[in-house]
């Protein structure tokens, strides 16, 4: 029915195509009213469009040349000030601009060509149901029956069952092979590793600032004295033996577990602790690793003694056993018992009593 309507479209102008349907490669024109473009009726406009397209393609070539010039001529360290963008690397901006424009112009030219000069008359094609012809379906069924018959898949029950069994077991080696993604050191289990850090009784505490700067030295030079920490202050710290771990891997692993924060408050402000006398004159040590999903925390509000995780805003009250006061963390921040050694340096008095960092399945079994 649509094809008949289609003839209302001034067939004379459509010329020899007869709505396109009779010529190979042409689809019937859709029976929709259509407004012609300027480029269809005015040869001048068509030539103008032609020139526009060619200009874009030509400019694209020009910008490729400019790109190569910019690549060679602009030093990679040169910076320029560009309004809105600020101070930026000149090379990057020039390369991105010239490359982007050259590529963009190819696209813009092609689209302009399509929109102005290629036909904008919509055509129609018929769809076909996705379902197969009955004959094809029958042939498929017949082939299946033949295959079943010839293989004897239905008859040889024992073959069928053992095959299914064999195929079911086939992936097992592929899974087993994944076991040594972690080559487990003898006698170590994940739960134990997660539950222990290098802190032990008497280990000197050093600030991570000095450590970051690569400062080396004796305990006396590196360690912290109580008087180094003012009331209300916070110091990120590490065990002194972290310096013995020279290789990056054990060093980073231990820093991900053993890093602590030291805060000092007026002893009268401490409402409770995880253990009797775990502080030293109001100086408290807590794990720095959030018990939620493990982000390091050093956002401390001195008036409320709240420690806030920057990742998910779990908030811990350090004056009250490091308990969770807000946010998604379920466990309090583990506290490290501290004291001073003979040289007057802050030291750990015992390892962490609780595992540090995020919870895990076996956490309460250890």
């Amino acid at each position: 029915m649509n094809d008949q309507h289609g003839t209302e479209l001034e067939p004379t102008e459509l010329g020899s195509t007869e709505l396109g349907s009779t010529r190979p490669g042409y689809s019937p024109i859709a029976p929709i009213s259509h407004r012609s473009r300027v480029t269809d009726t005015d040869p001048k406009a068509a030539r103008r469009a032609e020139r526009q397209v060619a200009t874009m393609f030509m400019l694209s070539m020009v910008f490729v040349v400019l790109f190569v010039i910019a690549f060679i001529a602009i030093d990679k360290t040169t910076v320029v000030y560009i309004p809105v963008l600020g101070v930026v690397g000149a090379s990057n901006v020039a390369l991105g601009f010239t490359f982007g424009v050259s590529v963009f112009l190819i696209g813009a030219g092609a689209i302009q060509w399509a929109k102005k000069l290629m036909p904008d008359v919509e055509v129609v094609q018929q769809r076909h149901d996705m379902v197969s012809e009955k004959a094809d379906e029958n042939e498929a069924a017949a082939n299946y029956e033949r295959g079943k018959e010839e293989s004897g898949f239905a008859r040889y029950k024992i073959i069928r069952r053992t095959l299914i069994g064999a195929l079911a077991l086939f992936p097992i080696p592929l899974i087993v092979l994944l076991r040594d993604l972690w080559i487990t050191p003898a006698g170590e289990s994940p739960a134990e590793l997660l539950s222990t850090t290098m802190w032990k009784d008497g280990m000197v505490i050093i600030p991570d600032i000095g450590y970051e700067a690569g400062k080396e030295g004796t305990a006396d030079e590196l360690g912290i004295r109580p008087e180094d920490i003012p009331v209300g202050g916070l110091v990120s710290a590490l065990p002194i033996e972290i310096g013995l771990l020279k290789a990056a891997k054990p060093n980073l692993i231990e820093r991900g577990k053993a890093s602590i924060i030291l805060v000092r408050m007026d002893p009268s402000e401490i409402r409770s602790q995880q253990g009797e006398g775990w502080d030293y004159n109001g100086i408290l040590a807590f794990s720095k690793i959030c018990t939620h999903v493990g982000c390091p925390i050093a956002l401390y509000e001195r008036r409320t003694h709240h420690l806030l995780c920057p990742c998910h805003q779990s908030t811990f009250d350090l004056a009250d056993s490091g308990d969770v006061v807000f946010g998604p963390a379920a466990r309090r921040m583990p506290q490290l018992p501290i004291g001073i050694n003979d040289e007057g340096l802050l030291v750990a008095k015992a390892p962490f009593a609780d595992p540090v960092g995020p919870s895990f399945w076996e956490r309460d079994l250890t």
Binding site: I32, S236, V293
Partner: protein, 593 residues
């Protein structure tokens, strides 16, 4: 009226010389290939393949093209990037980090950014193209969902699309982690925490993934092989399947003049879509290159190398991970210890269970809706979102849910920017997460039904012209005019589905209907989906309504053709007539056309 043959004939017309050497070579090549592959059979059938036109069909194209840009720029990056966590001391052009210990991965990323000419451009193009890719995938999915393009026969392709969405997130996250800067390392630390929250196997899973304790030195090389081989390979394979299905099933189209469920109206592949789509690839490519050159993204040199005991405030993941981070932030701190085993609901629910439910629900949605509505027909004409109010409502509900999680992902930024308490903001978002989606559903459904009523009015009475007419006996009426061809076709393209009948508890002989609970559920779901729909008038009613509107228009005195009268249009609405001038508005409209 155009002359469409002018431009289509160029192959055979006089401008092309009969013996054009390039065409000769082209023809010979085609024959050569055809003799070996039978390719002309395919070309003959497909070069003229018709694709329908609509701006929203471009969204999938953006996804495809930005993915190609990601592949191209990514290949380039692999030439310079070193996926190693071995420790090096930086000695490149970026002065502030000179002498700092860092992983080779981070150092080589710095080298790409500062010492490889054009390296930063490629890196930023890669990142921007990835962000655009995920965004385009998401918006493309919205388009497909809201227009019902996932319905039979396209359910498989919807599932492929859902898988592609999940893979796109995976590709994004693995890539984000590769530079081994402070931000991305923090992201990995969170992944470690998430893995550890999985019951029974979580601790071991985390140790296997990271090759031991976090961070170890295996994770970057492992992410690298996933990022450059496994995930892109899967994406490429699924995109191929995705496009082949679109090709075989032919693209859906919106209702419109001349468009039916059995045809496809649009432009042929050669030349129009070849030029438009091919050109659009270059446009997307060019825009990404411009953004990559002009807009900084992920300045890893500012964040510094990763160490697990440092973090910066205001850390934000890439936008598409924001909703998961938000879910982690908004979740209450539930954890239970059962028989000594720890269940970290506070991590497990937001990062594993909620995404699992969302993606499973997405994948199953076409089947759920078809079952609930009893709709087994093939659909090649798209729904206007208003004509499927419950589906549209569900979609908006999901977007609102997602949106609140997304805001939650930036709750610290929002709180700082608007000077709010982070605690009350978090609580507000928690409550909104529960109550806002249902409210959004109801509002959306009501708006859709209102639009349906409006459409029905238009079919029955024509559209309100905005012109008020006083009849001789003093009555004022607003002139209604018949809809134009396109609007009429679009509005009357609505399909009405019937609510499934309520099942009987027992048949007339008193035999109990064992399937009653299932059938009754299905009946109730179909009432939920379809019960409130506004029925489309019959064709006879529509014809009568439009004819009446046309008649109504004749009542009105014509508008003046001001240009002809050459006078001030003050006398508008009068009864002046010139010879040859339209007597009615309708005639005038016809004349203009």
């Amino acid at each position: 009226m155009s002359n469409p043959t002018v431009n289509t004939n160029s192959l055979g017309d006089s401008e092309t010389k009969a013996g054009d050497p390039i065409e000769k070579i082209g023809g010979a090549t085609a024959t050569y290939v055809d003799q070996r592959l039978g390719s002309n059979r395919f070309l003959g059938r497909n070069l003229g393949k018709v694709f329908p036109d609509h701006w929203s069909f471009m969204l999938g194209e953006i996804a495809l093209y930005s993915f190609i840009v990601v592949l191209l720029t990514g290949t380039y990056l692999t030439l310079f990037y070193n996926p190693s966590m071995a420790e090096v001391i930086y000695d490149g052009s970026y002065v502030p980090l000179k002498g700092v210990h860092m992983s080779d991965a981070y150092a080589s990323t710095l080298n790409i950014s500062f010492d490889v000419r054009g390296g930063l451009l490629i890196r930023q193009m890669h990142h921007w193209a990835a962000l655009i890719f995920v965004a385009a995938v998401a918006v493309h999915m919205f388009r497909v969902f809201f227009t019902g393009a996932f319905r039979k026969p396209r359910e498989f392709n919807w599932i492929v699309g859902v898988a592609l969405t999940a893979l796109a997130l995976g590709a994004g996250f693995t890539g984000y982690s590769l530079p081994d800067d402070l931000l991305s390392g923090t992201g990995l630390q969170i992944i470690r925490g998430i893995l550890q929250s999985i019951p029974l196997v979580g601790t071991w899973a985390a140790f296997l993934v990271f090759g031991g304790e976090f961070p170890g030195d295996d994770i970057i090389p492992r992410l690298y092989s996933a990022h450059i081989l496994l995930i892109p390979g899967l994406i490429l394979a699924l995109i191929t399947v995705h496009l082949m299905m679109v090709w075989t099933q032919k693209h859906t189209q919106f209702p419109g003049p001349g468009r039916t469920n059995d045809n496809v109206v649009g432009y042929p592949l050669l030349p129009v879509y070849m030029a438009k789509a091919g050109g659009f690839f270059f446009v997307v490519f060019g825009i990404i290159a411009l953004i990559g050159g002009l807009v900084t993204i992920n300045p890893i040199w500012i964040f510094g190398p990763y160490t697990p005991d440092q973090v910066t405030a205001g850390t934000q993941p890439d936008w598409y991970i924001g909703w998961l981070d938000g879910a982690l932030r908004l979740m209450p701190n539930w954890e239970s210890v059962i028989f000594g085993f720890t269940f970290s609901w506070n991590v497990l629910i937001p990062s594993v269970i909620i995404p699992g439910i969302l993606f499973t629900g997405l994948a199953l949605y076409p089947f759920l809706e078809a079952w609930a509505t009893g709709d087994k027909r093939e659909h090649n004409l798209l729904d206007r979102p208003r004509n499927a109010p419950v589906r549209t409502g569900i979609g908006v509900m999901a977007i609102v849910f997602y949106g609140i999680l997304w805001i939650g992902g930036g709750n610290d930024i929002v709180a700082t920017a608007f000077d709010l308490s982070i605690n009350s903001l978090s609580w507000t978002l928690r409550i909104m997460l529960i109550i806002a989606p249902p409210i959004a559903f109801v509002i959306t459904k009501r708006i859709c039904l209102g639009l349906q009523r409006r459409d029905r009015d238009k079919l029955l009475h024509g559209y309100e012209s905005g012109r008020v007419l006083r009849l001789p006996h003093g009555e004022f009426i607003e002139v209604h005019l018949p809809l134009n061809e396109k609007e009429l076709a679009v509005i009357s393209g609505k399909e009405d589905l019937r609510v499934l009948p309520a099942p009987a508890k027992a048949d007339p002989d008193g035999v109990k209907n064992k399937m009653y609970p299932v059938q009754n559920l299905r009946h109730k779901l179909s009432v939920f989906f379809l019960g409130d729909n506004i029925e489309k008038p019959s064709q006879a009613e529509i014809d009568a309504g439009q004819a009446h509107a046309a008649h109504g228009a004749e009542l009105e005195a014509p508008l003046h053709e001001y240009e002809l009268l050459d006078q001030d249009p003050v006398g508008h609405g009068g009864v002046l007539h010139h010879p040859g001038m339209a007597k009615t508005n309708q005639e005038q409209i016809d004349q203009r056309q």
